[in-house]
Amino acid sequence: MGVSISRSSGPHYKPGNAASLPKALSSADLKSVLTSLGIDPSKVVSVREQAGGQVTGLRDIQSLNPIGHHTAEALKALGFLNVEALLSLQVADDITRIKNRLATIQTSLIKKADFSVLASLMGFDSDIEGFVLVESDGGLQLLERALDELEEDSFI
């Protein structure tokens, strides 16, 4: 199984300028995270490059531009032995995505019976299958239906 890696950074990052690259990521911390995800970082076969939100293509690892020294060392420590390039990428919508994922965990804390009562109190059909809930001002707000995020048996 091969692994490809790409990286995105904030709007101040300029492609091709090693001096502007973010500092190296802590390899020990990231190795723990990768292991938790079940990802084996020992094989890199390609790099996915994006610029301005557009994927500009997949590159053969041999033709990639040099990456910053510190980042290269961190990636090698992670087991990405053949990484020779880094990517300049779009500004990712990380904060919104992380908020949505945390809401998913919050939803898992609600018992199905309690959820039916809550849905009824909110004026929704009792047979509705799921919602995305976000904690706001100390309470839970019923935001929207998220049937693709929640399964019928996912409530505890």
């Binding site: 091969g2 990521l25 723990s32 990768l34 938790s36 990802i39 084996d40 904690e135």
Partner: protein
Amino acid sequence: MTHAAKIVQFSDDAKTLPDGSKVIYAESDDKIVLYHKIPFERGLTYVFDRKTQDILVNGKPGDNADKRKMIKLGTYFLEHSSEDDLITLDIQAKG
């Protein structure tokens, strides 16, 4: 089969949260991960399974209290982050 994941953390490796700790967020199709590192202490890894809704803490089964801790930690991380502070590793496994 394609396996994809994203890892998000501060772009400046020296930057910490106000309490001095570091958080790394990661997600894949089936997991949500928060890694919490307090100085001079062992790191804590929270892994939430998006399919089973179960949680593991450092590899051991957790409970609702651990889920609440994970949410609180993620919220704390977001409260002290901006898009400009963050970088994302976009990882794809092919095979």
